[in-house]
């Protein structure tokens, strides 16, 4: 409490992502949390149904996905060319460009820019890049309050919590939990929630509107990310729903945008592909309510001081591995999270990163390396069912990449005097090939029928069982997971 009293913004939970134990261990309490699993099941089920309805309206969906894949491949394979072009365009349009090798450098740049404006608060648009570099805490340490303005981010921030989903960071909270958080915390940081507020989402959204409006009206500096950055023109694009993005991008005098180097696209015309792929894949809408595009400084309209911080922070590691490179195509739609049976059961927190779910399982070990336990375990946080690839709007072959990363992790661990690598090598046989995996799963289903009173069994029988025994996963159903999946979830394809 004392520490909290000195802070400008609500304190996040203690501990760091990289200090987290491996996925399988984090998953246990999540699996035991009935409320969490119910919230997740409801939310992911709803969003999956919306997505499939909107995707099936587009007859050329597959053609679009292939275009989305190819344009990103072109960009990534010539990233140096496009980054230099983006910088030239931005400077021509009146923006100042900064480059950051890692999170610490990016944070130093942003903190310095905010301090130079002499302010002690900023308003923020939801941005994965700023979460990745943990900018809010860097600002807090410098005595600067960073106010999250996206409703879900606000719920996470006021709840002293961490995001658990890319698109709906508070997906693990239900309406009554949100109500309690708003009632308890809003009054400590600005306009209070009405005492008689109910858990009706419309009332809760109304409380957020009032709470944030005073912050929007007075903020002098805003921090954003960008969904896309157009090399040809220097245009940045932010896709959002609530209008908090527009508020941040339009009202303050100074705008600082933190952009991962992989966000660049060659031309404005390329947007026609991604503005069709993204909303249908992420929120299951034909189009998201608001998209903002701006090109440096527009005289007389919006921020008159515009900064863009281009961040590497491990992206060049992923780029250097041709088998890992496709992960950088990700447009953060979160369709792979919503379709993932593992994510649906354990939620986002177990992944130990702001990037959870299937994309997190491939991206984190590449961005951060595989020296930490959490990153070593992430490539195993999957059943390799393949649904994530099927829904991915830029066709990232996540299952193949997981297999590749599993081998890297196993190689990395070779020589380590632990029991696990042996079992890992055996498990490798099962996991190296999807057919082996299905075979093993069918055998496990058989075991479930033979041993009906056993409630827990590794999903993989011998030879992988020495490794899976410790995993304490629920007994598989008598039909194999994949065949069950085919019957029940074809909707997403």
């Amino acid at each position: 409490m004392t520490a909290d009293a000195q802070r400008r913004t609500p304190a996040p939970p203690a501990g760091t992502y990289l200090g987290m134990p491996k996925f399988q261990k984090n998953a246990k309490p999540a699996l035991a949390n009935e409320q969490l699993r119910k919230n997740l099941r409801h939310a992911t089920g709803t969003i999956r149904a919306k997505r499939v309805a909107r995707v099936s309206e587009v007859p050329e969906w597959e053609e679009l996905r292939r275009a989305g894949e190819a344009i990103k491949n072109r960009t990534l394979r010539h990233l140096d060319t496009y980054l230099v072009q983006l910088e030239e365009s931005l400077v021509r349009a009146g923006a100042t460009v900064h480059w950051a090798r890692d999170a610490a450098e990016a944070n130093r740049i942003v903190v310095g820019l905010v301090q130079a404006k002499g302010v002690d608060e900023v308003v923020k648009v939801k941005s994965m890049a700023t979460q990745e570099i943990e900018l809010n805490e860097a600002l807090e340490e410098a005595g600067i309050a960073a106010w999250e303005t996206d409703l879900a981010e606000l719920i996470v921030q006021l709840g002293h919590d961490r995001p658990s989903h890319i698109l709906v960071p508070a997906i693990h909270r239900n309406r009554s939990e949100v109500r309690e958080i708003f009632l308890r915390e809003m009054k400590r940081y600005g306009t209070a929630a009405p005492e008689d507020i109910t858990d009706d989402p419309a009332e809760l959204a109304g409380a957020a509107r009032r709470h944030l409006r005073e912050k929007f009206l007075r903020a002098r500096v805003a921090v954003s990310g960008a969904n896309f950055a157009i090399a040809e023109t220097g245009t940045l694009v932010v896709v959002e729903s609530e209008g908090n993005g527009r508020m941040c991008l339009t009202l303050p005098e100074t705008l600082i945008s933190v952009v991962g180097i992989e966000k660049v696209l060659p031309t404005t015309a390329d947007l026609e592909v991604y503005l069709r792929l993204l909303p249908r894949s992420s929120t299951g809408e034909r189009m998201n309510p608001y998209t903002s595009m701006w090109t440096g400084v527009t005289p007389g309209d919006g921020p008159q001081e515009v900064h863009v911080v281009l961040v590497d922070n491990g992206r060049t590691n992923a780029l250097a591995d041709p088998l890992g490179r496709p992960a950088l195509r990700c447009i953060r739609c979160s369709a792979c999270l919503n379709i993932c049976p593992v994510y649906e059961r354990v939620g986002g927190h177990a992944y130990g990163s702001v990037y959870p779910g299937p994309i997190g399982a491939v991206l984190n070990p590449q961005l951060r390396g595989i020296s930490h336990e959490i990153d070593q375990s992430l490539p195993y946080a999957s059943t390799l069912c393949g649904a994530c690839f099927d829904v991915c709007p830029v066709r990232i072959p996540i299952p193949d990449m997981l297999v590749h990363l599993r081998k890297e992790v196993a190689d990395h661990k070779k020589g380590t005097p632990r029991v696990e690598p042996t079992a890992m090598a055996l498990a490798g046989w099962v996991l190296s090939d999807r057919r082996h995996f299905e075979l093993a799963q069918r055998a496990a289903g058989l075991a479930a029928r033979v041993l009906p009173h056993t409630t827990h069994l590794g999903p993989m029988p011998w030879p992988a069982s020495p490794w899976t025994r410790a995993r304490d996963l629920p007994m598989p159903p008598p039909e194999s997971f994949r065949s069950w999946w085919r019957k029940n979830r074809e909707e997403g394809r």
Partner: protein, 216 residues
């Protein structure tokens, strides 16, 4: 080495396997840009998809637009409206005659002043039938971005010849404005969120009421 040189150096090292220097030759993109999406009636589809977002849509012959604007503002209980400098004179006259008190943005209104105004009335740049989207390029008949953001009601007039079938055609039409440095705002229905249990709630920070007139 400074950060810029080091990052570009890392990128070049990482891409050592790429030998074709021309991006277009290296990765062909099998996509024809700017194509129209086939649909029976573009205008009817635009009305349908825009209404899908709970926006109010009224079709009117161009000559009736001033009267329709006045009616819609009255229906929404609007007492004050800010009008961009380049707005059609006939629309402006009709609004003033209807008793709504009209404000101009010259000199620029402060954020707090905008927050006290009920509504804004603007033209638009493009309408997209397939997605129910209206795009502003913030020309003089639409005003700077803050005008269409802070007041709680936005009445926007879309001309029939501005409505295209889908996103691809829209991007093609808007590209010259982007090249000129104009900001764009794409609006699909009123402000909305699905952040609480994925249930859609209309109205968070942007205008909670979106009134659309399709001028034919």
């Amino acid at each position: 080495m400074n950060a810029r040189e080091e990052i570009l150096g890392r990128v070049r090292t990482a891409l050592a396997d790429v030998t074709e220097l021309d991006p277009v030759a290296d990765v062909p993109v099998a996509w024809e840009y700017g194509r129209a999406t086939a649909m029976a009636d573009v205008l009817a589809r635009f009305v349908e998809t825009t209404e899908d977002y709970k926006a109010t849509v009224v079709r009117a012959p161009a000559g009736d637009v001033p009267a329709r604007i006045a009616e819609l503002l009255a229906g929404a209980g609007v007492a004050t409206a800010v009008l961009p400098s380049g707005l059609d004179d006939a629309w402006r006259a009709a609004i003033a005659a209807s008793g709504v008190s009209v404000l101009d943005d010259e000199p620029q209104l402060s954020r707090a002043e905008l927050d006290r105004i009920d509504a804004v009335v603007t033209a638009s740049a493009v309408g997209i039938a397939e997605t129910g989207t209206i795009v502003l390029d913030h020309a003089a008949d639409q005003g700077r971005r803050a005008l269409t953001l802070v007041p709680d009601t936005h009445l926007v007039v879309v001309r029939a010849d501005q409505v295209v079938s889908d996103v691809a055609e829209a991007v093609a039409r808007l590209a010259p404005a982007v090249t000129d440095g104009a900001p764009l705002t794409w609006i699909s229905g009123p402000s909305a969120t699905s952040d609480i249990e994925l249930s859609r709630v209309e109205g968070v920070h942007g205008p909670r009421t979106l009134l659309v007139i399709l001028s034919e």
